[in-house]
């Protein structure tokens, strides 16, 4: 890796954040954390991040969806890859009548369900970063 990648986690669950932050730190990523959607969005707008790890159920409800939508409208943030990490299916399982749920509600690149396997998480993060690099190179 030539340059250390900067990641941002927006999740309101401190224990979960601690877990994935440890995994990502060990993999030599530079990780920042925001524990609520508001400071998360501020961090996104001020900082320069390569990837966002986003939780869905925060604050008033499905705030993660709101953030993703706002990002889509923002020309600067539109290109940023998003990895959605959520336990949403477990939490409101009744809303998903079978079938794998791909988040069509936002233009995200990947979705991982809680609890996350460390290897899978790192794999997804590096693939997403690689895809963006490839896109930029074009």
């Amino acid at each position: 890796m030539t340059q250390q990648k900067r990641l941002l986690i927006i999740d309101d669950d401190p224990d979960f954040v601690e877990g994935i932050k440890a995994i990502l730190d060990a993999a030599q990523y530079n990780v920042d954390v925001a524990y609520n959607p508001k400071s998360g969005l501020q961090a996104l707008q001020t900082g320069n991040y390569d990837l966002l790890l986003l939780d869905i159920m925060m604050g008033r409800g499905a705030e993660g969806v709101m953030i993703a939508r706002k990002m889509r409208k923002d020309p600067k943030l539109r290109e940023m890859p998003v990895l959605i990490i959520t336990g949403i299916r477990e939490q409101i399982a009744f809303l998903f009548p079978g079938g794998p749920m791909h988040p069509r509600f936002v233009e995200v690149d990947e979705l991982v369900e809680k609890p996350v396997e460390p290897r899978l998480l790192l794999e997804k993060v590096s693939t997403l970063l690689a895809t963006v690099e490839a896109k930029k190179a074009k």
Binding site: D12, Y35, K38, G59, G61, A62, Q91, L95
Partner: protein
């Protein structure tokens, strides 16, 4: 934000968009508890609950039944001299315990809320006979029979529909819902 947030910070993260003041501004005057119609049924009054959150007593707060007994009348929020949104806090605690699966097994609230949302999403309207099954069986035979009798006479008078009603243009409605929460299948 750096460092692991404490329980009180977690709660304030849940309330980040609330129009009320932060919980730390509570002066423990007890207006909320005095005005609360559900307070006699709660193990901790709203005033104590706020005090406990500010003291980071996570276990005790989550084990309390207080927030599930909140009737959402919003008297506390209206009367709070510090303008804290206490009813909003009760909802925040409900969400917190449901998202983390930390609520007690025998509670009616979580199943009731889930059934309610489900019936609304399916038909656009609340339907009492389905809603009632989420709590009816936990009250014993006598109450069950009494409720059944009431429901029958209401049905005979046309006060409760026999079949669940559906609103017109349900598809549009589900699209509206889909904008707020990620409903499976909705655009």
């Amino acid at each position: 934000m750096n460092g692991k947030p404490t329980f009180s910070e977690e709660v304030s993260n849940l309330l980040y968009a609330s129009e009320g003041n932060p919980l730390k501004m509570c002066i423990q005057c007890g207006t909320c508890s005095a005005t609360c119609p559900s307070a006699p049924f709660m193990d901790y009054t709203p005033r104590r609950l706020i005090g406990m959150i500010n003291a980071d007593m996570r276990e005790q707060v989550l084990n309390s039944n207080a927030y599930w007994f909140c009737a959402s009348c919003f008297h506390c929020s209206v009367r709070c001299p510090q303008e804290i949104d206490i009813a909003g806090l009760m909802y925040a605690l409900k969400r917190y315990s449901m998202w983390k699966n930390l609520y007690k097994e025998d509670l009616i609230g979580p199943t009731f809320s889930e059934t309610f949302v489900k019936t609304i999403i399916n038909g656009g309207r609340s339907y009492e006979p389905i809603l009632a099954t989420s709590y009816l069986f936990s009250y014993g035979v006598q109450t069950f029979l009494m409720e059944a009798q009431n429901a029958t006479s209401l049905m005979l008078k046309g006060r409760i529909p026999i079949l669940p009603t559906r609103i017109k243009r349900l598809k549009n409605f589900r699209r509206v819902i889909g904008r707020i929460i990620p409903v499976g299948g909705a655009e």
